[in-house]
């Protein structure tokens, strides 16, 4: 029997929302994807900043 990720109460197979806390039931892959994307976007922003600074240094 599956458990709600939010409140750990049991949920049935066809449930779309948790009967106890009302949270939308998502697949685990959704949460994993959000975590990975957050890390990737953070790294991308850091790279952008490094790129920006490096482009100035190269142009000297």
């Amino acid at each position: 029997m599956k458990k709600c990720l939010n409140c750990q109460k049991e949920i049935k197979d066809n449930d779309k929302y948790c009967r106890n806390c009302g949270c939308l039931i998502e697949k685990n892959s959704h949460y994993i994807l959000v975590n990975i994307l957050t890390i990737l976007v953070t790294i991308a922003i850091i790279i952008l900043i490094i790129l920006f600074i490096a482009s100035y240094m190269l142009s000297r």
Partner: protein
């Protein structure tokens, strides 16, 4: 019991509808207790929803930052990528290489004048030059050389600044010595030779560049007349810091030859070509139309056969033998200049164009102290250039 929102059957002790998520009567009572609300808000899913919001904000911020940086830096923003790529290529090869390609070919380009032809040559190299490390510093020198000597494009991408200054002196001096030769040379460019040791520098009278696969009736064509510098030497200070004789051997070139004066030798080849064009009443072979295509191709073919260079040498030799009461043949005459001047082809015939280029090299380096043989060759050549 039915859900008050969607009407689906729910259990009595359910707080929320399993189908639409709406609270039930039981859920209403459940939510009256604030500690239950706190429990829900502290759950993993709610925390994760905050993470999702943060991701959206972060992504939007990233887009704004990227757009701002692009507006500020333009294409220079990506220069570090190409710099790193260049360093990796250099590491793999074991020496510095050039990013400039001289063998780009373009088709279906409308070119309707000589000025457009030269402009296209300039733009081809300019486009590539944005990836050069020190383009801002070298740009002024390159532009000065282009303007002073009527050359469409000069590219010293990634070359050492001091080295470029020395080469600028060579080019300017050569065109001061032979001012009437300006206009036919389209570019002087640092590039990678097919192999490391293929050449130090190289004069190419004709490289077909634009619309070579098109019908001349539909598109005019563009040729380059170019001097190429081999990046293996000119981008690698390990070699440049030593004498050129370490590479070519002692007494190969004329006395006092340097890496920079080797370019004077190549300009010597160009000057021979310019004299040949003047003899044929043509200013340049850059802009090719239906009217002049056949003539240009024939001219270049004839030049490559070497008869013009041989005529110059024979005239110079004749004058030399008379003036100095000598009886030298062509090979011995050439040997008085340098070993390179006396180079033979595979049929043991003198490469007359090398003899002339070395004579001009001698003239550049040693001026009035040049060999008498060089002097006669230079006089003969200058007669063609009047």
């Amino acid at each position: 019991m039915k859900c008050i929102n969607c009407g689906v059957e729910v259990d009595v002790d359910d707080n929320f509808c399993y189908k639409c998520g709406h609270w039930t009567a039981n859920g209403y009572k459940y939510l009256q207790d604030y500690s239950n609300v706190k429990k829900i808000e502290n759950g993993t899913v709610y925390k994760h929803n905050k993470k999702l919001n943060n991701l959206i904000v972060l992504f939007s911020l990233g887009v704004v930052i990227f757009t701002g940086m692009l507006l500020i830096r333009g294409s220079d923003l990506f220069a570090p990528f190409f710099y790193v790529k260049k360093q990796i290529t250099n590491l793999i090869n074991g020496y510095n290489t050039s990013i400039i390609k001289v063998d780009n070919i373009y088709n279906n380009i409308p070119i309707n004048s000589y000025e457009e032809a030269r402009d296209f040559i300039n733009k081809d190299f300019l486009k590539q030059s944005i990836l050069c490390d020190n383009k801002n510093k070298l740009l002024q020198i390159e532009t000065d050389i282009e303007n002073q000597n009527d050359i469409a494009s000069v590219t010293f991408c990634d070359m050492n600044y001091d080295e470029v200054l020395k080469i600028q002196e060579v080019i300017n001096k050569m065109f001061n010595l032979f001012p009437s030769t300006k206009g036919a040379l389209t570019n002087i460019t640092i590039t990678n030779a097919a192999s490391n040791t293929e050449y130090i520098a190289y004069f190419q009278p004709m490289h077909q560049f634009v619309n070579i696969n098109n019908d001349i009736k539909e598109y005019n064509k563009v040729n380059k007349t170019q001097i190429l510098l081999n990046s293996y030497y000119y981008l690698n200070n390990d070699l440049l810091s030593n004498s050129i004789t370490n590479v070519v051997g002692e007494n190969f070139y004329v006395k006092n030859a340097t890496w920079e004066s080797a370019i004077a030798h190549e300009i010597g080849h160009y000057i021979t070509f310019a004299a040949y064009l003047k003899e044929k009443n043509i200013d340049n072979i850059t802009y090719v139309t239906e009217e002049n295509e056949e003539k240009i191709n024939e001219l270049v073919k004839e030049f490559d056969q070497g008869s013009f260079a041989k005529n110059i040498l024979n005239t110079a030799l004749n004058n030399y033998n008379i003036k100095y009461s000598k009886n030298l043949n062509l090979n011995d005459f050439a040997k008085t200049i340098s070993n390179y001047a006396a180079t033979l082809d595979k049929n043991n015939n003198l490469l007359c164009e090398e003899t002339i280029a070395e004579a001009i090299h001698d003239y550049y380096l040693n001026g009035s102290n040049m060999q008498n043989s060089s002097r006669e060759i230079v006089y003969t050549l200058k007669n063609y250039l009047r």
